[in-house]
Amino acid sequence: MTSLTRRSIADREDVLGVLMLAPSLVYVILLVGVPFSLAILLSFSNASAGSLRFEWAGWANYGAILGDPIFLRALRNSVVVTVGSQALVVVLATAAAQVFRATFAGKRFARFVLLLPWAVPVSLAAIAWTWIFDSTFSVINWTLKAAGLMHGWLYWLGDPALALLAIIIVQAWRILPFATVIVLAGLASIPQEVVEAAIVDGAGFWRRLFQVELPLLLPVVAVAVLFGVVYTATDLGVVYVLTGGGPANTTHVLPTLAFQRGILGADLGQGAAIAVFLLPFLIVVAVAMLRLARRAEIGAR
């Protein structure tokens, strides 16, 4: 034991606090903060991966990509995929949460299965879906045809519109478990007595759902949506594996295009500029989450 009478450094909570916090702060500042600023700086530069030179290029990169139809398409795709998939997720997750809050036989197994899309690494899920959407062997096509619902043929990954739809489906599929679990937790945190009061007051299932439960669920659903937006908008794996950005650069999203131009094409400046367009998504999300956190603080009092 340390000396029982004198205060030593082992007692200095302020010193200890700083010491224990320091490594993570260093890590975050050096390896997140600095690269982050660097990324923005690079977007204004002429840098390439080959040499170490760094020339100021002003708005040149931005000018270049804003005039590039492929970039504009990628930007549009990012928005479409993110909004489309998350809209699907919100509806499906709220429904799934209602189903999975009830008790029924085999619920644990059902929950296990429901969680699988989230547990699987993105790239592996994507490769599996590539196989599912394969133009010759697609099991979806087979099922649709066998059920008599399809008479032509769906070249999923070969057709720009279908490919984008496929991407939306995969993104919704993999985010659904995450959102469902969050909504379920939210449902569980609604005080039991408030729901019972609604029952006693005479509200039937639908009125209870729309007028009591969903409004109280809003902050939780918002969290699920916000994370879903971040995960989808910044994701590279699904698109890269499924389509590689094709056919003919029609299904690029911002991350994959940034990778193609910045890493594969070694044009760091342009790659950075493309990636910077992800920031609006993130800022909106961060602000919304801060608001939610503050509201939770007030409400809890």
Partner: protein, 280 residues
């Protein structure tokens, strides 16, 4: 009442099918003989959802014997262990410090650190590619070991903070009254109390490393250096031919331990995501 019950089961089944059929498909594909597998989908008479011929282990054998898959598993595990050690060593003290020693601004700072989790790899990989080249870590697992903690530390610090909120601080204060210094409390008393939190950190790191694709894609180029998440979709290709059977086997083997782990730790993760606003 009965109708409601049936509708409930039908809905549960529908969700299960939607979520699970790709895995069932993975399972079937991994063990189907090639001639049962490569039948054009326009042939409606051949049912792809079942084993028409007896299952086979040839794809698994190929995966384990003739591809670099075992090597990738080893690489991945190496990275997992290294990153887990770094994360625990850095994030746990940080979380403790913010929760116990930092007072009011601890909460704010913790949130700030948490928000860096939102900065995506697909923005940072551009400057990182420069940094990695500078450090001579190109095409090495060292690059991943250096960079993955930037993803794990923010979230895990927040996780530990949240966890500590549920551990009563009176136990530590009692220990200090009984004669321990704060440092001794940290080294001797606290670890036992926050062990579940530490475990969650390790598990989260495990899942994150196993799932990560972008940095692996950016920094690893040779096949023998790859991680599972990178190698399987990119390098399990012979010429132009995808060996779907082996591919799906690999995907399946990787998914199962992750799924089991996720199910066990899901509540803890959710607490982290909802910033403690919702009890898991």
């Amino acid at each position: 009442m009965k109708l409601k019950r049936m509708a409930l089961y039908a809905a549960a089944l529908a969700f299960m099918v939607f979520a699970g059929f790709p895995f069932y498909w993975m399972l079937i594909t991994a063990f189907k003989q090639n001639r049962d597998l490569y039948v054009g989908a326009s042939d409606v008479k051949h049912i792809p959802w079942i084993f028409n011929d007896p299952p086979t282990l040839e794809h698994v054998r190929l995966l384990l014997g003739q591809t670099a898959f075992p090597r990738w598993v080893l690489n991945t595990l190496l990275v997992v262990v290294a990153v887990a050690v770094i994360t625990v060593a850095v994030a746990v003290p940080a979380g403790y410090s913010l929760a116990r020693l930092a007072g009011r601004w601890g909460e704010r700072l913790g949130m700030g650190i948490f928000f860096t989790y939102l900065i995506p790899p697909t923005l940072l990989f551009i400057p990182f590619s420069r940094l990695v080249a500078l450090l001579g870590l190109n095409n090495s697992l060292g690059a991943l070991i250096l960079i993955y903690p930037t993803m794990t530390i923010p979230f895990c610090t927040w996780l530990v903070m949240g966890f500590l909120r549920s551990v009563p601080w009176e136990i530590e204060e009692q220990a200090m009254i009984d004669g321990y210094s704060r440092l001794e409390v940290i080294l001797r008393v606290a670890p036992r109390l926050i062990m579940p939190g530490i475990l969650t950190v390790v598990v989260f790191t495990f899942t994150l490393v196993m799932q990560e694709f972008v940095y692996a894609l950016t920094f690893l180029s040779s096949v023998d250096k790859m991680t599972v998440s990178l190698g399987v979709p990119i390098a399990l290709v012979r010429g132009d031919v995808y060996h779907w059977g082996s591919l799906m086997a690999a995907a399946l083997f990787t998914s199962i331990p992750l799924a089991i782990v996720y199910n066990l730790f899901i509540d803890r993760f959710i607490q982290g995501f909802t910033m403690g606003a919702v009890k898991g």
